[in-house]
């Protein structure tokens, strides 16, 4: 992460693309200004710096942009892409750019022009009868929720992530997690409009038939299904997307389940899988370890901070018992008709009761007309009410990088993966292991781990990135692949997906070259490089 690293590939030089920082030609800037006006083409460092990953060591300029352009219509996005193609300017698109911990809005190739879509923030449609919305990329969860309230269709709700400021489209295109039943497995996004690298416009699925009313209802269309091709990719810029909504249920019961002892984790995971498979738990629960949950109990956690770098297992057990959160605690919820909810809560109690000493907390069942009374963060997020509450828990200057491998939702597999991650992080960093287990569907989970660090401290930040980068490789050797990767190790994460001498990457790069021959759209995103920048 030396500040003069010209390759923009971070300290380990892990990238595949070795090229000098790109400098945007003045002629292209002139054209951008003609198209968008002076105000929407930012070149001053202070202006551009508002579009960076806050969890990066700020004096390091490895992932700097050379300009930020702010189109506000699809036509303007098309114009930007055409200018870029003409001048071979690498673009890097963000919707809201809240991808913090994964690189935020920063580009992979230093000197790229950022395309910021926050200004395209219209909710184009809310269909009450068939329960879906159509949004532009600048629409955040907060915006969509507000639009639903304003439309009066308050019986609709949207599956939201923990932080409500991100883009609905941006989150979806990064495979981000949301927590209601439609949050699992990319179920909600349906039907896209996409600007391609030549500036032309595509509609996927049934949208390819003019006047079709099933564009945002039927995911498949005729022939190959293209929507998933635009996830974690650089084949186009999504300017519209349909997003399925859920009808507010008759009853909503938020729950908190504990696992009192560390050795009970495998048992808990197996019980969770069966509840998911049987459809008793339908949404995406979040199970966190003691340390993560103890942040809600600063006075207790405070006893251990600073005493030693790593909190001992014994002390963690003390914390788990005193706070009552357990060694692992899981938030989840049940939604449905009142008798079904009561029955499912009962089944959860019966199943979870097999874990000795465990608890199932269920304080209240909300009826559909009691949504206004939902005020706690964990209850809001699972009721489809977005917030920024979680930000308050993050102290100034604390940065985070995520490492989130996909793991089978089986007790033994999760146990092994957690042990590996904890031992690695504790041993290599001398700090504590904070983690969350998020079952993305009935059969697999991601284990969200990583490192916290002081973004103002270069050595601390540098060390954190180095450790996680090495972890990507070590985990890869064990068959653990990331579901999403930070900018600084996208190439490394992609490198682990090497079946058939990197057959997957060869395949997607052939598509990349076909649809973006001048290689201007987000080069390097998730390890996909256009031919002109591909060097091993």
């Amino acid at each position: 992460m030396s500040t003069d690293d010209p390759r923009g590939t971070g300290p380990a030089g892990a990238g595949r693309a070795a090229q000098d920082a790109f400098v945007v030609p003045e002629a292209a800037l002139t054209r951008f200004r003609e198209l968008l006006g002076e105000d929407r083409v930012l070149t001053q460092e202070a202006d551009r710096d508002r579009y960076r990953d806050p969890y990066w060591y700020q004096p390091d300029r490895s992932y700097d942009s050379s300009a930020v352009v702010l189109p506000s219509t699809t036509e303007e996005v098309q114009g930007v892409v055409r200018i870029a193609a003409e001048h071979r300017v690498p673009l890097w698109t963000h919707s809201q750019g809240r991808n913090n911990g994964y690189g935020g809005p920063s580009p992979r190739v230093r000197g790229s022009v950022l395309v910021g879509l926050r200004g395209m923030n219209r909710v184009l449609e809310i269909n009450r009868e068939l329960a879906y919305a159509v949004v532009e990329p600048g629409v955040s969860w907060m915006d969509l929720h507000a639009a639903i309230q304003e439309s009066g269709h308050t019986d609709l709700m949207v599956s939201v992530p923990d932080l409500g400021w991100g883009s609905v489209i941006g989150n979806s295109l990064d495979s981000g997690a949301t927590y209601l039943p439609l949050g699992a497995d990319f179920q909600a996004p349906t039907g896209m409009e996409v600007v391609l690298a030549d500036g032309s416009l595509l509609r996927t699925g049934m949208g390819a038939i003019p006047g079709n009313r099933s564009w945002h209802l039927y995911k498949r269309g005729l022939g190959p299904v293209l929507d998933p091709l635009f996830i974690q990719s650089n084949f186009g810029i999504v300017t519209k997307m349909g997003y399925w909504l859920m009808r507010r249920p008759q009853a909503y019961a938020p729950l908190f389940l504990t696992v009192p002892r560390e050795e009970q984790l495998a048992q808990a995971i197996d019980i969770l899988r069966e509840l998911r498979l049987q459809g008793v738990i339908r949404g995406v629960p979040v199970m966190q370890n003691t340390l993560t949950l103890s942040t809600h109990f600063p006075e207790l956690l405070g006893q251990f901070m600073g005493a030693s770098a790593t909190i001992s297992d014994e002390d963690l057990q003390y914390l788990a018992d005193e706070t009552g959160v357990g060694r692992w605690g899981m938030r989840t919820a049940v939604w449905g008709d009142a008798p079904v909810v009561a029955h499912h809560v009962q089944r959860i109690r019966e199943a979870w009761g097999q874990i000795e000493g465990s608890r199932v907390d269920q304080h209240r069942v909300y009826a559909a007309d009691e949504w206004d009374e939902i005020t706690e963060f964990v209850e809001k997020v699972q009721a489809g009410i977005p917030s920024l509450d979680m930000l308050e828990a993050i102290p100034e200057g604390v940065g985070h990088i995520g490492f989130s491998p996909v793991v089978p939702l089986r007790g033994q597999d999760v146990r092994e993966a957690v042990d590996f991650l904890r031992d690695y992080i504790v041993e290599r960093s001398g700090t504590n292991f904070a983690a969350g287990i998020i079952p993305m569907n009935e059969r697999s989970c991601i284990i969200v781990s990583g490192m916290n660090f002081d973004t103002r401290d270069e050595a601390d930040t540098r060390r954190a990135y180095r450790i996680v980068r090495e972890l990507v490789v070590e985990a890869g050797k064990r068959g653990l692949g990331e579901y999403r990767a930070h900018l600084d190790f996208m190439d490394l994460a992609s490198e682990q997906y090497s079946f058939g001498d990197h057959a997957y990457r060869r395949f997607v790069e052939r598509i990349k070259d076909a649809v973006d021959p001048s290689g201007i759209l987000s080069p390097g995103r998730h390890g996909i490089w256009p031919s002109r920048m591909r060097e091993h």
């Binding site: 068939l130 039943p181 497995d185 416009l201 595509l202 509609r203 996927t204 049934m206 949208g207 390819a208 038939i209 006047g211 079709n212 009313r213 099933s214 209802l217 039927y218 498949r220 269309g221 005729l222 022939g223 190959p224 299904v225 293209l226 998933p228 091709l229 996830i231 974690q232 990719s233 084949f235 399925w244 009808r247 899988r273 498979l277 049987q278 459809g279 449905g336 029955h343 499912h344 996909v406 793991v407 089978p408 939702l409 089986r410 009935e442 059969r443 068959g479 692949g481 997906y497 090497s498 079946f499 058939g500 997957y504 990457r505 395949f507 997607v508 052939r510 598509i511 649809v515 390890g527």
Partner: protein, 529 residues
């Protein structure tokens, strides 16, 4: 061509290369809508493994001979095994029929393309795992092929496309790709996590000619404690809209877990016996005859079916909700048959079996409505689940059936937020006059429906270009992109050219598009002489 045959025989063994003659008969469309020569296979090959698939593609590339892939090739009503370009080598994967893995904990399987629904069912039974497959009406087809062509079944996992998790695909140049987590050799999550890292590729291999799928992961439904087959009938022709609107909220809320199919009298009658049992006159079956059939078999004018699953208490709650919702329909007859999850297949009546994932051949008589060697082709437009759309599609379609003097079989199938209207056109391939009218009817329906903004979910080889032409937003932007990808991955254009209207550069002049009108004659002459 002699050289091609010799090389294929050397690679696969002579017995696995079908030459023109009786051995090739089964590779023609069993229900051709027109001169079978137009979609005639040149040869058929039956590789045993991935290496032999690669060998076939190598030979095809070198000789510039197109290949048309089928898994079992039971795609009847959509062209069977016949290729879009006549003279193609049919790549028949039915010998690759191993169930490679059954995960009885997570409920997944890894299959080769030749595995039939019957095979999968037996494999799961003998493994004794507490999971069900989802099966379509006919159990003889390929599980993989059906999922790729977006077929449907009748359990809670009936949207087969949604159950796909991870594939292995042989590309035109012989390269082998594994999608999703399979791209990481040591990953244990290939069949467990769909998106993988980077763009998700499973989607582009459906209804597609970008590769040959040689392995597919699929999710299975956990066997429920209890389940119920629910049948609702309504007495009047006007009741269709009410039935569609009443099921929509139940689908949206997830109360009803399966697809909801709604069939008219003829839709049901076709399973029971041939037309001649009821009517031998000219023109479409008159309403009076329809009413007779309805009475005789105790049917409604509209007959709706779905399944419910859960623990005993959960099933009771779902049933109560469903009864409440349907209670508003005057004249509805509501019948419920409840079963234990482990009820033996022979104790489940034939018409309920697919709702428990038990494969059969219940509707095998349907194509023989007109007797003889039979014939049918399905038109399946996609629409929102609203009474307005159901009635509008019915109006568009009914008029044309009447005009062409063809019996109209109507089935509406509601999924999660969309529905299909499956309109079956029945004919007898040996009745030239009826075949001609059926052919013309199919074509005009595609046009009429597209004019109202309805597109097909899947289509017959005969109609692939016509349907693809209707997906024309922004000067065919979707097709232009599909074909850019096609050309990049298959520069010689050998893999299933014309599949779903996507053509490689090498054969694009054969596409039925306005700009190619002059080339029609060429195509009629076939690809390989």
């Amino acid at each position: 061509m002699d050289d091609v045959v010799a090389r294929l025989q050397a690679e696969l063994g002579a017995e696995h290369v079908a030459l023109p003659g009786p051995g090739l008969e089964e590779y023609f469309d069993p229900f051709p809508l027109e001169d079978p020569g137009r979609y005639a296979p040149g040869l058929a090959v039956r590789p045993a493994d991935v290496e032999q698939v690669q060998a076939v593609l190598r030979i095809a590339t070198e000789s510039r001979t197109p290949v048309w892939t089928v898994s079992q090739g039971r795609n009847n009503g959509y062209g069977g095994r016949s290729p879009r370009v006549s003279g193609s080598i049919v790549l028949d994967l039915s010998r690759m029929n191993r169930v490679l893995d059954i995960d009885g904990v997570s409920g997944t399987v890894l299959l080769e393309p030749g595995v039939r629904f019957f095979d999968l069912y037996e494999a799961l039974r003998s493994a004794g795992v507490p999971f069900w497959p989802s099966v379509p009406d006919l159990g003889w087809g390929s599980v993989v092929g059906n999922a790729l062509d977006r077929g449907l079944g009748y359990t809670a996992y009936g949207e087969h496309w949604n159950s796909i998790c991870g594939m292995e695909v042989v590309l035109a140049d012989g390269d082998v790709v594994r999608t999703g987590m399979g791209a990481m050799s040591a990953s244990r999550s290939w069949q467990l996590y769909k998106p993988g890292f980077g763009p998700s590729l499973d989607g582009i291999f459906g209804q597609s000619n970008l590769g040959v799928v040689t392995k597919m992961g699929l999710w299975l439904m956990p066997r429920p404690e209890r389940w119920a087959a629910v049948d609702v009938s309504m007495p009047e022709a006007e009741d269709l809209g009410a039935l569609i609107d009443v099921c929509r909220p139940l689908k949206l809320s997830g109360t009803i877990q399966t697809v909801v199919s709604t069939a008219d009298v003829l839709g049901i009658a076709s399973f029971i016996g041939p037309r001649s049992d009821w009517y031998t006159g000219e023109g479409p079956i008159p309403e009076s005859v329809e009413l007779d059939i309805k009475e005789r078999f105790g049917l409604g004018r509209w007959n709706q079916q779905f399944g419910l699953y859960g623990s005993a208490r959960e099933l009771a709650a779902r049933l109560a909700d469903v009864r409440d919702a349907y209670g508003v329909l005057e004249g509805a007859r509501f019948t419920v048959a409840e079963y234990d999850g482990d009820t033996a297949p022979e104790d489940v009546p034939e018409q309920h079996r697919t709702r428990a994932g038990i494969p059969g051949m219940y509707v095998e008589r349907m194509p023989y409505w007109h007797g003889g060697r039979g014939g049918h082709v399905a038109i399946g437009p996609v629409a929102p689940i609203t009474s307005e759309d159901a009635l509008r599609m019915r109006r568009i379609i009914r008029r044309r059936f009447d005009e062409h003097g063809v019996d109209y079989f109507a089935v509406f199938i509601a999924y999660h937020r969309h529905m299909l209207h499956l309109a079956q056109i029945m004919f007898d391939r040996d009745d030239a006059e009826l075949s001609r009218r059926s052919r013309e009817l199919a074509r005009v329906l595609v046009q009429d429906l597209a004019a109202e903004g309805y597109g097909e979910y899947r289509t017959h080889v005969y109609l692939m270009d016509a349907v693809a032409n209707s997906f024309d937003w922004n000067d065919h932007a979707l097709r232009r992109l599909d074909e850019r990808i096609k050309d990049a991955l298959d520069p010689a254009g050998i893999l299933s050219p014309g599949k779903q209207g996507v053509w490689p550069a090498a054969f694009r002049d054969r596409a039925e598009r306005p700009e190619n009108a002059a080339n029609e004659a060429n195509e009629a002459n076939g690809a390989q002489q």
